[in-house]
Structures are given as C-alpha cells and as structure tokens.
Subunit: 234 residues, 2 copies
C-alpha cells in the first residue's frame, strides 16, 4: 500500500466518522422526540406536546444535512463498493429516522386534541412501554449499523415481535372498551392511531437493523421478519 492510498483511506474514514456522528445525533433527537411524546400523552402535558411538535424541523434539517454530507463524501472520495454500501445505508437509515420524528410529532398532535373521555388509564402506560421499547430498538439498530454489529442487529429484529404483540394487546383492549358503548369509539380511535404511529416507528427501527445485518453479513436476512399479526390474529 502506497502512502497516497493510505492518505485516501484515512480521508474516507474521517469523513465517514463525521457522517456517522451526525447520524447518531439524529437518532438521539428522534428517540428523544418519541420519549417526550409518550410522556406528554401519559401526563396530558400539552406544553410538552407543543415542544415535541416544535422540535420536528430540527430533525428534518439534520437529516437534510446528513444527505448532503453523504453525497459530498461520495463525490469527493468515490468510495469502493463496500465503503459505498456503508454510506448508502446511513442515507437510508437517516431517512427512516426523519420519519420516526414525524411519527413522534403525530403522537404529540393527537395528544393535543385527545378528548377528555379517552380511556387513558392503563392504555397510556402501554403506549409508554411500547415507546420505550422502540426507543431502545432505535438506539441499538443505529449503533449496530455504525459498528456493523450483526448480533445486535439480529436482537433488534427479533424484538419487533414484542412491539407487534403489545400493539395487538392494546388493540384488543381498546376494542373491548369500544364494544361497551359506541360513544367510546371516537376517543379510543385516537389512542389506536397513536399506537399505530409508534408501531410504525418500530418498523423503521427494524428496517435499520436489517440494513445493519446486510452491511455486517453481506446479505439480507433470509428468513422473513417475525410477525405477530398473522399467527396471533388467525
């Protein structure tokens, strides 16, 4: 290896490190938004919900910055195929994190207009637990991507099943409540849509984990993602 090659490799690695640092920061912002959104729901804290909504543009801007930084890295360093795959994976995962931020914002928006009759008791706690799990999945999936850690990514992927099961349990509980009286349907639907947003955020965490697996092992996971819905609801 010549000195020139070493110099070029070093420059790519430095750029990748900077890109990944911004990516982990984005993950932190998206995770914080989800956590705060669940807290605002449970404590009916409208001011906190407003802050979650107000924080979304910062997430969008950081994502945009990461996409431009990644493109600039590709243009300046013309990375090899395997290095390029890492950059592309970060670009895709950053897009997923931006969507997670949108879901947190949606949860906060629904919290703002939640009718006082909504069956918060019990259900808001379940939503918080779903949120905690998704936040942990996001944290692990993004670290697995940056560190090319296949076992960590695999663990995230398996935990998607827990999210599905929590969602299904919550849904059935809301259903029981809705069956008691048609007047319960509206408020319960709000909580249902909130849970759906969190489930989607979990879906993105799993997608990031699958990208991490692809980076670490060179192939997409062969067995399909475990899904609770089909078996449980059959």
């Amino acid at each position: 290896m010549t000195d020139a090659t070493q110099h070029i490799l070093g420059a790519f690695d430095r750029d990748l490190e900077s890109l990944q640092a911004h990516f982990l920061k984005l993950s932190g912002l998206a995770e914080a938004a989800l956590t705060e959104a669940a807290k605002a729901l449970e404590t009916q804290d409208i001011a906190l919900a407003d802050r979650v909504i107000a924080s979304d543009p910062a997430i969008d801007e950081l994502e945009e910055f990461i996409q431009m930084e990644a493109a600039s890295l590709i243009a300046r360093r013309a990375p090899t195929a395997s290095d390029l795959r890492r950059v592309l994976a970060v670009m895709r995962a950053a897009h997923s994190l931006e969507r997670v931020g949108d879901y947190a914002k949606n949860v906060a928006k629904r919290t703002r207009v939640l009718p006082p009759s909504a069956p918060l008791e019990g259900h808001a706690g379940t939503v918080r637990r779903m949120c905690s799990l998704v936040v942990r999945m996001l944290d692990e999936a993004t670290r697995a991507l940056v560190q090319k850690d296949a076992p960590l990514a695999e663990a995230v992927r398996k935990r998607d099943l827990d999210i599905d099961q929590m969602y299904n349990t919550l849904f059935r509980s809301l259903l029981t409540y809705m069956m008691e009286s048609p007047g319960n349907i509206g408020p319960s639907m709000h909580l249902h849509f909130i849970a759906k947003n969190i489930e989607r955020a979990g879906d993105h965490a799993t997608t990031i984990a699958e990208q991490a697996l692809y980076l670490a092992t060179g192939s997409m996971p062969s067995e399909p993602r475990p899904k609770a819905g089909i078996e449980v609801e059959g």
Copy 2:
C-alpha cells in the same frame, strides 16, 4: 458557456435520465404488485398472491441497483447543489417504493392465510378502491418528481385525505362487524391489517409528492399534510 461545460452538463443529464427511467420502472413494479395484491384478495386467488410474494425480490434488486447507480452518478459527475437535490430525491423515493413493494407482499401474505370466515364481501371492494387510489397517487407522485411538476404533486398530497377517510370508513365498518360477535374479531383484524398496509403505501406516495414539491418549489409545503383522522375521529 464553453464546449467543455456543455459536454459535462450533457453527461449529467444523460445519467439522470437513465436513473429516472429505472426509477419509473421501479414505480411501475411497485404499483403492479399493489394492484395484483388487491385483486388476489378480492378474488381469493392464492396463486396470484404467491406471484406477488415471488415478485418482491425483483423490486428489492432494482431499488438496490438504483441506489448504486445514483451513487455512481454523484461520484462521477459531482453535480451542482440543485442537480444533487434531484438525485437525492430519487434515492429517497426509490427507498419509499421498495417499502411499498413490502406492503404489497404483506397484503398477499395475509390473503394466503385469510380465514374463510373473513367478512370479504363489501370490504374487499373497499380495499381494492383504496389500492387503486394509492396506485394512482404513486404514479402521479413519481411523475411529478421526475418532471418537477408542483401542481401534480400538490394534487397527490391532497388525495392522501381520501385514503385516510376510506381507511376510517372501512375501520368503522369492520368494528360494527366485530361488535356483532367476538368470533368475528380475528378475521376482521386480518382485513384491518391489510387496509393498514395499503394506507402506509399511500403515506409513502404522499412523501414522494412532498419531495417533488420541494424540488419544484425549493421549500417543503408549509401547511401540514391534511389528515382526516383527527377531525373525523374527535
């Protein structure tokens, strides 16, 4: 403008055209998968559902190809900021289309295991109409992106409201059916999850339309995306 500059501009445009042609092809595949998945559900055609499932790897491969092609374009042509934004928008939108393919696959998988007691009558038709609308949104959003057509993108974005309303109507109808007997809950949940997948595909069409608006106008739409859920379910 020197001859050399003209030559460089021409090369970028040719590359972009090739990238966009592959992108439109990907959109066509994703749209076909959704259409066929809805048809398989309505006609209970398991063989067709199997073909939808089998067609998903081709969608994944084309998306991967597009990401590599876009990266190679960036590396070779080092496009200007506004050209770069077009390439990045195609990369993001291709990722969305890959997800749409996944949703079509999920619908087909659920169709395969749908219990005979599922309340298909009426509901499968609604699902097909939702699918038709999403397919039209995808077609228009991807064309709006390639052609930087702001009015077309805006039209797609507004139609997201129709999807939400169709989903809400379907959900309420399924709810009524579930309330009749607890035994109806399982099969109805299958249809509910199918509708959710299609609603998510519509969400991606809207995301692509928003990217198109951003490209065409230089800023993201300022007013929030119209949403039926909050007002209708309040």
